[in-house]
């Protein structure tokens, strides 16, 4: 193990010194091992983020009946709007995967094009959600109306904040690739961003099922 490799992996997470079997193979490469460790660490973060969302989901499921004689989900939700939001997020997840492949294979047109499409779909999703929220507040069904609506705005709004953060991150990644090229550290960040964006779509699947579809069908 060279000095540089030791510095890059001080706790020998790749377990590289001495015995040589397949598990230690990637540590010899250094860069490849770091990509695995970064991805795994970000995966742990995403799972903890999902656990945080599960607490909001639990709060929503407990409070969904407490409408304080106000409107319930059946009165408020517009499923065609939700269907368009779902389509936006699903296609943005797909183009985000294409952008990841474009970055891996250093095809600039794929990367920039797919990232731009991802941004547009994500921004369209966010615009629809803000429009929905504004409509609810205008009808007097804001987060202060009932425990149900407090839980609804917290849960859906928290996902919306994640999408907003994801959009800012997306623009940052495009700028970083433009300024610094497809360096190993930039590619690791693109991997993490892509994981984040796909995880948001998974949370949205749970969200449109539990909140909108079950809420509208009550």
């Amino acid at each position: 193990m060279s000095g540089a490799a030791a510095a890059a992996d001080p706790h020998r997470l790749g377990r590289s010194s001495g015995h040589r079997h397949a598990a230690s193979e990637h540590a010899a490469g250094g860069l490849h091992a770091k990509r695995i460790i970064t991805g795994y660490g970000f995966w742990i973060f995403l799972l903890s983020d999902i656990i945080m969302f599960s607490a909001f989901f639990a709060a929503y499921a407990v409070l969904v009946g407490n409408t304080a004689d106000g409107p319930s989900g059946k009165d408020l939700f517009d499923l065609s709007n939700v269907a368009i939001e779902t389509a936006c997020l699903l296609f943005s997840s797909f183009t985000c995967g294409i952008a990841g492949i474009g970055a891996q294979t250093r095809r600039g047109s794929w990367f920039y094009g797919a990232m731009a499409v991802t941004f547009l779909f994500g921004a369209a999703f966010l615009a629809l959600e803000i429009h929905e929220f504004a409509g609810l507040v205008a009808r007097g069904a804001g987060p202060t109306r009932s425990a149900f609506l407090s839980a609804f705005f917290t849960l859906v709004g928290c996902h919306g904040l994640h999408v907003t953060a994801g959009l800012l991150w997306l623009l940052t990644m495009m700028a970083q690739v433009y300024a610094k090229g497809y360096r190993a550290d930039i590619l690791r960040r693109i991997l993490c961003f892509s994981l984040f964006w796909h995880a948001l779509d998974i949370i949205w699947v749970a969200l449109f099922t539990v909140v909108y579809l079950m809420g509208a069908g009550q």
């Binding site: 079997h21 397949a22 598990a23 230690s24 193979e25 990637h26 990509r35 695995i36 970064t38 991805g39 795994y40 970000f42 995966w43 742990i44 799972l47 903890s48 999902i50 656990i51 599960s54 607490a55 989901f57 639990a58 709060a59 499921a61 407990v62 499923l79 269907a83 779902t86 389509a87 699903l90 296609f91 997840s93 797909f94 995967g97 294409i98 990841g100 492949i101 891996q104 294979t105 991997l191 892509s194 994981l195 796909h198 995880a199 779509d201 998974i202 699947v205 749970a206 449109f208 099922t209 539990v210 579809l213 079950m214 509208a216 069908g217």
Partner: protein, 124 residues
Amino acid sequence: MSDFDPEGATDVAPGEDDAESVLTYVVGLALAVLLTIVSFFIAGTSLVWGPSIPVALTVLAIAQMGVHLVFFLHITTGPDNVNNVMALAFGVLIVMLIMAGSLWIMSHMNHNMMPMEQMMQMQR
């Protein structure tokens, strides 16, 4: 994994792409679109027996999350993915505990609570 060694398979990061995996994303997108359409159809239809709808929606949502995990996040059951799957399994366990535990305890508490009118009368 052509040179698979059972003693120590190499790991892959979650979300790691093969260079030519566009097809994976296309298949994943097709399956996800299909499941989404079925979900929205079932939620709005009267063709299905009413009480079964939430169960069907839950099953469809779990299936779609599985599609996303496999085709978009590339979480598989392969030997190079054991660490990712173990972390996922632990996450799912905690999510289940939070959801089921909250619903169970809170429904019992609702059940055992004094009705609001009686409570108001006692405070007079």
